[in-house]
């Protein structure tokens, strides 16, 4: 009797969030900096590349005022590498997420990526964690998929296909990759069979999550319901086994565990 909204984000919402991803563009015209809520955009001077949020880049692209430089991981060779990794190197898991972004600090060491404005001497204050979350991460190097890989690739191929080298090949590689990973997503629930198995979702993209969320949750919930009585018996035995040592406290604790299990339903 609740709102008929699905849990989590639906694909269109994921795609909307993806529009905040930064892409590199090559402007064709000069454009002054635009003050936006998320900060000022860089001023565009034609031969110089600039970082733009995807939505703005697409707007400029549609107006023929800029070309989009496709990210490194969207190159056919990089995608083929990832597919090779998914199918041959590690057929069980998803390809790993990109390494945490780093940049050189000018003294020959790599430091965690921080906002360019922050000087290196300034101590990070608690509460403004400079660590970045997916839509604001810099584009990963070739061979790694970003969190929003599927949406970003689809959007770029739809609106800026002429900027993507070997667009047809990229498209077919993306289809392959999507199929491989969808099969893994289906297979990931198999690990629940023995009981206590956890579905490892490291490296899964946002769109894939939105696609399979309801199904995976349904499987986990079904397994939980089927095993509920066995689980209750096990807890009882534990409570009895521990009763000698902990006295009455163990039973009460068992009850608490059960409560939290119910709340965890979703």
């Amino acid at each position: 009797m609740a709102l008929p909204l699905p849990q989590g984000l639906v694909p269109t919402e994921v795609a909307f969030l993806c529009e905040m991803e930064m892409v590199t563009i090559v402007p064709r015209q000069r454009l002054e900096s635009i003050p936006l809520l998320s900060g000022d955009t860089p001023a565009l001077r034609p031969p110089h590349r600039a970082q733009m949020p995807l939505w703005l880049a697409l707007l400029l692209k549609k107006q023929r005022r800029a070309n989009i430089v496709p990210p490194a991981w969207l190159h056919p060779a990089s995608l083929a590498d990832i597919i090779h990794h998914e199918t041959n190197v590690d057929p069980q898991a998803f390809s790993p997420p990109p390494p945490p972004p780093t940049r050189a600090d000018g003294r020959g060491r790599a430091r965690p990526f921080q906002d360019n404005i922050r000087s290196s001497r300034e101590q990070p204050k608690p509460g403004d964690d400079p660590r970045l979350a997916p839509p604001f991460l810099p584009s990963p190097p070739a061979g790694y998929l970003p969190y929003h890989w599927l949406e970003l690739a689809e959007t770029l191929l739809a609106h800026a296909a002429d900027d993507v080298p070997a667009a047809a090949e990229v498209r077919s590689l993306l289809r392959d990759l999507q199929e491989v990973r969808a099969a893994k997503m289906r297979g990931s629930t198999q690990s629940l069979e023995g009981g206590g198995g956890v579905v490892v979702l490291r490296g899964v993209g946002a769109m894939e999550l939105a696609e399979s969320r309801a199904f995976v949750l349904g499987v986990v919930d079904g397994v939980r319901k089927l095993g509920a009585s066995a689980e209750a018996t096990r807890r009882e035995e534990e409570a009895i086994g521990g009763g000698g040592r902990y006295g009455g406290g163990a039973g009460g604790r068992g009850g608490n565990f059960e409560d939290s299990d119910e709340e965890m339903e979703f």
Partner: protein, 185 residues
């Protein structure tokens, strides 16, 4: 579980075989013999909600758990009989669960509450997980290709939990596909 959950209500109405432990007057019609009392130990089928109550409550007033004698004894329904469980153990995908009962897993969860059957629990769990992966595959393929006929046998054998899984998986795929088709605009 919601009060209005239709599947739960239907599961409650599943018939389970049971035997009364005592003669029951005026219930002879359950055994097609309305003129006489229902004899003890006559096999009858009662809905789960009633059978469960009668099997768990004691017919004497005393609160001493030792001499609690229930009204009737429950047995495993046919859908969870040894034959079905061994068939599931052999190949989960080959059994049409819907032919056994529409609420196979719901019933199983209820029966596992009443009976301690760790082995059956493990088999059902494996069945559920294996069939879920297969269901998801069919959900992805449904509508995309024309080979519906191939999966028809399997899909018509899905019981209610699996049907809802199918629907969830298919909805997810459909929403994703819809976005992908609309991204051009």
């Amino acid at each position: 579980m919601s009060y209005y959950d239709l599947d739960a209500i239907l599961t409650d109405a599943e018939k389970v075989p049971c035997k009364f432990e005592l003669d029951v007057p005026d219930l002879g019609y359950l055994d097609n013999n309305p003129s006489q009392a229902l004899k003890a130990q006559t096999p009858v089928s009662l809905p789960l909600w009633l059978a469960e109550l009668l099997a768990l409550s004691s017919r004497t007033q005393s609160s001493n758990p030792e001499d609690s004698a229930p009204f009737l004894t429950l047995e495993m329904p046919k859908a969870l009989s040894n034959e079905v469980v061994s068939a599931l153990k052999a190949d989960p995908r080959a059994v049409a669960l819907r032919d056994q009962t529409h609420n196979m897993y719901g019933l199983a969860a209820r029966m596992l509450d009443l009976f301690e059957e760790p082995e059956m629990c493990a088999v059902l769990r494996r069945t559920f997980v294996t069939r879920a992966a297969e269901t998801a595959l069919h959900a992805r393929k449904a509508g995309a290709t024309d080979d519906v006929v191939r999966g028809e046998g399997f899909l018509s054998g899905l019981e209610e939990w699996e049907r809802s899984l199918f629907r969830r998986a298919h909805d997810g795929n459909k929403a994703c596909k819809e976005w992908m088709d609309g991204v051009k605009k």
